[in-house]
């Protein structure tokens, strides 16, 4: 029998993988993918809570739809910025983005 804890554990693991990818990736597109992982971990959390503790109003499922829509917008803009950088600099390696000090 699957309990809500199982889904929460998967969500937390996914979130941690996302954070790991965010910190270690050198390719800007991989960093964007890691952010998608973070958002999907949150989605999983919302869906799990929604079906276990809020099966009538399903507010969590509605929240997830909003998150997916916004994540799409964010990915579109992220890729557009990566494209602009590639046109100017011919690289999307994060290590090379050092015109501004961190």
């Amino acid at each position: 029998m699957l309990t809500v804890n199982f889904f929460l554990a998967v969500g937390a693991a996914l979130f941690c993988i996302g954070i790991y990818g965010l910190v270690t990736s050198r390719n800007a597109v991989r960093v964007l993918m890691s952010i998608e992982l973070l958002l999907n971990a949150v989605n999983l959390n919302f869906l799990a809570f929604s079906s276990y503790v809020d099966p009538v109003n399903i507010r969590g499922q509605l929240f997830t739809i909003f998150i997916i829509a916004v994540a799409a917008a964010e990915a579109a803009i992220g890729l557009a910025i990566v494209l602009a950088i590639y046109r100017n600099r011919n690289t999307i390696d994060m290590e090379n983005f050092n015109l501004l000090r961190w």
């Binding site: 809500v4 929460l8 969500g11 979130f15 996302g18 954070i19 965010l22 800007a28 960093v31 964007l32 952010i35 973070l38 958002l39 971990a41 949150v42 959390n45 919302f46 799990a48 809570f49 929604s50 503790v53 809020d54 109003n57 507010r59 969590g60 509605l62 929240f63 909003f66 998150i67 916004v70 917008a73 964010e74 803009i77 992220g78 910025i81 990566v82 602009a84 950088i85 100017n88 600099r89 983005f97 015109l99 501004l100 000090r101 961190w102």
Partner: protein, 508 residues
Amino acid sequence: MPIDVSLLNVGAIWPEIIVTLTILTLMVVDLIGGQRVAKQLAGLALLGLGLSAVVIVYQLLLQLGLIGGPVPPTESFLGSFTGDPLSLVFRGIVVLSSTLAILMAERYMYQSGAQVAEFYTLLLGATLGGMLLSGSTEMVMIFIALETLSISSYLLAGYTKLDSRSNEASLKYLLVGSASAAVFLYGMSLLYGLSGGETKLTAIAPRIVDMGFPALLALVLVVAGISFKLAVVPFHQWTPDVYEGAPTPVVAFLSVGSKAAGFALAIRFMTEAFPAYTLQWQTLFAGLAILSMVLGNIVAIAQTSLKRLLAYSSIAQAGYLLIGLAIGTVDGYASLMFYLITYLFMNLGAFAAATLFTLKTGSDDISAFSGLWRKDPFLAVCLSVFLLSLAGIPPFAGFFGKIYLFWAAFQAGAYTLLFVGLVTSVASMYYYLRVVKPMVVRPMSPEVEAYPATNWELPGMRSLQVALGVSVVATVIVGIISNPIVSLMNESIARTPPLQTAKQLSQK
């Protein structure tokens, strides 16, 4: 479930409706008119913001009972949004900062040759997000408003797309911003589960009272997400990069408008969803305030570019503002709002001065400002006033703002915060004066030697002059008329229901 439209209470979002209509009008006018109308678009955007500001002031006066009987604030959209005095003050600040940013952007856009219509559309979009964020009381609404603000800001930061520094600023802002939005969302998902399926902040509060560790985890995640918007240490790394790389008018908006919306969110989220954990979140914010004040002011000393200096200075200012939140008294909130108003004028003014100087010399190095007094006394005086006000030197507005904040901290017994605030604001005078002094006493730098005479008749220069003038007058005057403004803020807080309940809960 049938919904009665009158229950939605749509009237509360009239200011936002006006801004939305302005955005649509801007896009249509640009589509039809093309290049011929490019010069009129700023006027159109300003008109929309002005109308919106008028409605905000009207609603505020109405709710405070200054015209007609006091109207109690009602929730709109079935509890997703509220137009209470707290939100009205913050929406006013966001609109005002956007107005000043547009005034200083006009010349910048003209000189950089970028498309103007999209710029105003995006800036108004960010304004809209900030305004909605100030009044949101429900988690989905908060998330959507936050992302409206953030996504527009990412695009604005990368607006000069042929400049690779602007690209880089935009990418860093986007990556850090969306990661922190994800952390914020993770915290909200925990809140949703712990409260048993509630998304309204006030409905969450009673259900997480005795949760212990899980609720605290959610609290920490939410605070981390909000702190990114406030740009406080240790969530500040994006600030100097974005401030240096992004177009200056955009930075001006980000440093005030976006930050004001973040503070509105912080106040509302903490007082409505976490009244049972008041001690914990106040301790958290007190720690963040101390870190920001210390680190922001120390690192600012080492900067050589004026925009980076203003970036670290704004981190430090966020620390001072957090004092008002961390003590959590009515006086604390009132002085936070008052300091935000003074900060609005002095910081936007400093960025307007930096914009003008950069437009004329192409440099924003602090050493380039030497001897500016002899070539352009007006700009030198303006910049000095703003920087001295940021340093908290009387008789400018910043001094009075700090006095109210520190006094509120003293009355609340937050002596550590008070001590750190006092010591760091004395230390901060050093780096502000490091810009002011060479302007007057040093010989002219090569940039200033080649400084062209200011021609206010050039397109867009007049509005930059207006922005500078308004900021300088306000920076001088707001301090003198601080008493009525602070009592207005006090009155606004007294009529904001969540802050009332927060006060009662913390007294128990």
